[in-house]
């Protein structure tokens, strides 16, 4: 394990621990956007950093069960969908076992498998995932903004409008980034692997 790996591991564990601190937890969970976008997003980042801390991804990792990173991406996508459902966010706020489940599953089933699988993904699959991420953010944002009922019992309806706006903003940033990169920044650097 290199010094850099250790630093990624420490960063991942550190972020995970900070997010679990009661004041940080309650501050992020006070708003719906903070809960779904900031907390779950940062938990996924913590898992991603842990994944990077495990070192470079060898081609034969996971004994051939994760060729092209397919299995890891499937696991991550389901973990993401699971924690975007309003009913599960409410359960996490009301039941400690669901909260613990969220704190374990988002880093370990979303961030970490994505970090180990992303470098193995073919460029086309990466593009597909980015494009899908944009459309999913736009659709989810629209669902939260237009829902005629309160989706999360624990949050007021104006929180839904804010979350919708946040999801749209995130989608717009990703779309703008890739548009600029595609038309202005030249060809994407596939060797960088971990991010793009």
């Amino acid at each position: 394990m290199t010094a850099l790996d250790k630093r990624w591991l420490a960063a991942g564990l550190g972020l995970w621990a900070i997010l679990a601190l009661p004041p940080v937890r309650s501050a992020l969970e006070a708003t719906l956007a903070g809960h779904m976008v900031a907390q779950i997003g940062l938990l996924a980042v913590a898992g991603w950093w842990l994944g990077r801390g495990l070192g470079p991804v060898p081609p034969g990792e996971a004994g051939g069960f994760n060729r092209f990173g397919a299995t890891g991406v499937v696991v991550a996508v389901f973990a993401l969908i699971f924690w975007m459902l309003p009913v599960n966010l409410d359960k996490a706020l009301l039941a400690p076992v669901w909260e613990a489940g969220k704190f374990l599953s988002v880093p370990l089933l979303l961030g970490l498998p994505l970090a180990r699988s992303w470098p193995r993904l073919p460029p086309l699959a990466r593009g597909l995932l980015w494009a899908n991420a944009v459309s999913m953010l736009v659709v989810m944002g629209w669902v939260y903004r237009e829902a005629p009922v309160r989706l999360c019992n624990s949050y007021l309806i104006d929180q839904q409008l804010l979350l919708g706006l946040t999801l749209w903003g995130l989608g717009a940033v990703i779309a703008a980034y890739w548009t600029i990169r595609a038309f202005v920044g030249g060809a994407p650097d596939e060797g960088r692997g971990a991010i793009g």
């Binding site: 069960f65 299995t71 696991v75 389901f78 699971f82 459902l85 309003p86 019992n153 624990s154 007021l156």
Partner: protein, 198 residues
Amino acid sequence: MRTWLASISAAVLGTVALVWATDGGRAFTAETARRLAVSKHAMAVPDLRLQLQTGAQARLRELEGELVVATFIYTRCRTMCPMLGTRMARIRGQLPESAVGSEVRLLSLSFDPARDTPDRLRAYGDRYGAEPASWWVARPRSGLERVLDELGVVVLPDGNGGFRHNAAFYLIDRKGRLVAILDDKRPEAVVRAVEKRL
């Protein structure tokens, strides 16, 4: 091949988890999950000490043996609670006259007991024709938090001195058990649910 198998297994497990967490794809929100759970298993409602619009003291348990249609309000509310009052009055009007007050009791319960004095409760009740013999407009004197928790009523301050809350009609059977949480916008469904149990 192994990757295919692993990916498909992960997708199957993921789908199972999603189906499980949403009650078979029926409950994407906590509110629907709660309604489904109650419709499957009746739930004992904790007793409450109440003060009625007449000023008299009462207990929720006294209503055992009757069907109770309950809803939660606060009298200063200008949005949802007046509608709940109107709809409760509609339910009252559509129920068989012989059953109201003897077999069925209506209950508008305040979740703002500090401000909702008997005078205010009476004024609210009078607006919708609530006769105390058949329709209690009451404030709890203890145990409010527990009842709100167990019935899944969420009350949040709205930042302007009022509250935001989820609205529904709660049907309590003769044994004092919550047997249905019904849509507040469909009073006729509440009437049908009560009539089925008369």
